[in-house]
């Protein structure tokens, strides 16, 4: 019954090729988008470029509300709307595009594990720094998040979001951490990524996979975003192979649009 339904959906998807007018939605680049959303969006863009699938980037103030799961970015392809990297990878796979087909079982297990590492540590750290560090939250995050709205909606939305994120941090045991500990976690994560990457061009040697896209999205965004302190980007800079990894992907896949990359230079 439901399995059959899934099979039917997959078949419908594979019937249609990737259209020219596929669109990716994210919050406003200059004033609104936050570090974590920017990283997620860049990861998806990198992935699609690596697959050779064209996509237009569209900035909308209410992107978060338009998304089916409440998370950005999401893509609008044909008459389908899919959000977040994981489901988007599945979606493109159903259409016959995949970066990880060449991996064996052990490698695929490792790839998924490392993607979870990035989600578990890097993304959570970004969320923590944005919303749980009082300085960052009041000086950067809340003003940015609420910039498209007028008073009093802007305050209400920003505080509501902050409350949600803080509750989640509490649930997963991050609420008791200090900023120093979070930076330390980021360092551990980067060390693991750096060790895994070694001297290879990509994580699974010659060809990039969704893991490379995800890591690039987060690391590049952290490196190019100005926060209240440089400590986060300094952590990454101490790993030279990660730096050259980011540069390599930027040059290979984004070379014509470096100016258009979501460089959220936040003061």
């Amino acid at each position: 019954d439901s399995l059959l339904g899934e099979v039917l959906v997959v078949e419908l998807n594979t019937a249609e090729p990737w259209p020219e007018n596929a669109t990716l939605y994210q919050p406003l680049r200059e004033d609104q988008i936050l570090l974590s959303d920017c990283a997620s969006s860049l990861a998806v863009q990198a992935y699609l470029r690596m697959c050779g699938l064209p996509v237009r980037v569209c900035c909308r103030a209410n992107a978060e509300y338009m998304s089916p799961s409440g998370k950005v970015p999401f893509i609008h392809v044909g008459n389908q709307v899919v959000s977040e990297l994981g489901p988007i990878v599945q979606f493109t796979k159903a259409k016959g595009h995949s970066l990880s087909d060449g991996l064996d079982d052990v490698q695929r297990a490792e790839m998924k594990a490392y993607m979870e590492l990035v989600n578990n540590m890097l993304l959570t750290a970004e969320l923590y720094i944005q919303w749980c560090d009082d300085t960052t939250s009041s000086e950067i995050t809340r003003p940015r998040y609420s910039s498209p709205y007028s008073w009093p909606l802007n305050h209400i939305l920003a505080y509501q979001k902050q409350w949600e994120v803080r509750r989640k941090m509490n649930a997963i045991g991050w609420a008791g951490k200090t900023l120093e500990q979070v930076y330390e976690d980021v360092s551990q994560c980067c060390q693991a990524l750096s060790q895994r990457l070694g001297t290879q061009p990509y994580f699974f040697n010659k060809q990039p996979t969704e893991l490379d896209a995800l890591v690039f999205g987060h690391l590049f965004t952290i490196l190019t975003t100005r926060l209240t302190s440089d400590e986060l980007s300094e952590k990454i800079k101490s790993y030279s192979n990660l730096l050259s990894f980011c540069r390599r992907i930027e040059q290979t896949y984004f070379e014509e649009s470096i100016g258009k990359l979501p460089l959220g230079v936040i003061v």
Partner: protein, 293 residues
């Protein structure tokens, strides 16, 4: 400070084995866990990082890449498997009522046995809601389907990574093995009415063998061997007499015990409660608590 911690640590293995047969007396677990918790880590993965920092490294034979892999797979377990385990023990109606709550009713003194399980049940559901980002989540087929799908995939990935090896990184166990064991063993041991996760685990021969292997080596069923003897007997491929290996084996035996107990205690939500039911502790543990580090 380092030596004091080491002394406590070295002393710990003996205490751990003496107090607990994890499947029988989880109340005995609390004291040991409490001392671990003083370092304020409430997540097993943080324990591994903390242990490494203190140079109690059961993984020093691992290459840099293997150490990185450990961190990655621990994340995988926490993100994909743990929510489903929490669900199956605490939120799934049948399992919760027939097994988990009944165990509490029978083994924990009044009046906690009435108050605690429900409270943990509520908290775990709340936690799942927060983690999934959906405040309207209800236990039911849809949620179960999603969680179990992730968990089954996770178990399959672990099985693929393990392959035909005895342990995840070759012939000797490491902290990752302890961690995986800690999560999977309760599934094998505790019979649940709604046992989809168990079924899948049983179908993955190498994972099931892996767990049984460790159970036999590190938790010989009801035997009451002298703790000291037990600790030094654990070596599995490697010199027993060699000083670094002996220490490593001690560390490993602790890790396995801690991993198993943490896995179980985490599932039972004991860790997440701030005011642990201190009244349940055995008296002889008090001296452990006193030592602030």
């Amino acid at each position: 400070k380092q030596s004091k911690a080491y002394a406590k640590f070295a002393g710990a293995p003996l205490k751990v084995h003496k107090i607990t047969n994890p499947w029988r007396s989880p109340t005995g677990i609390l004291p040991a866990l409490k001392t671990r918790e003083e370092g304020s880590f409430s997540q097993p993965s943080k324990i591994i990082i903390q242990l490494r920092k203190q140079k109690y490294n059961a993984d020093y034979d691992l290459s840099a890449k293997e150490c990185a892999d450990t961190l990655a797979f621990v994340s995988l377990l926490e993100e994909k498997l743990l929510p489903a385990l929490i669900y199956t023990h605490w939120v799934d109606a049948k399992n919760y009522v027939d097994v988990t709550r009944r165990w509490y009713a029978e083994n924990i003194p009044f009046p906690l046995n009435f108050l605690l399980p429900n409270r943990i049940h509520g908290r775990q559901l709340e936690r799942l809601r927060l983690v999934r980002g959906d405040p309207t989540l209800e236990p039911g087929e849809q949620l179960e389907k999603e969680l179990y799908h992730d968990a089954l995939e996770c178990m399959t990935l672990l099985s693929q990574r393990l392959g035909s090896q005895k342990f995840f990184f070759g012939d000797s166990p490491s902290s990752l093995d302890a961690y995986v064991f800690g999560h999977l063993a309760p599934l094998l041991k505790i019979k649940l009415p709604n046992g989809k996760l168990q079924q899948h685990l049983n179908s993955l021969d190498n994972l099931r063998q892996f767990c049984t292997n460790i159970l036999v080596l590190y938790f010989p069923s009801e035997s009451r061997e002298a703790p000291a003897k037990k600790v030094s007997n654990h070596a599995d491929g490697g010199d027993f007499d060699n000083e670094p290996h002996k220490r490593r084996n001690q560390i490993l035996s602790v890790l396995f015990a801690v991993g198993a107990m943490l896995g179980y205690a985490f599932l039972s939500g004991i860790i997440t409660i701030k005011h642990t039911p201190a009244r349940l502790e055995e008296p002889h543990v008090d001296e452990e608590e006193e030592e602030e580090d």
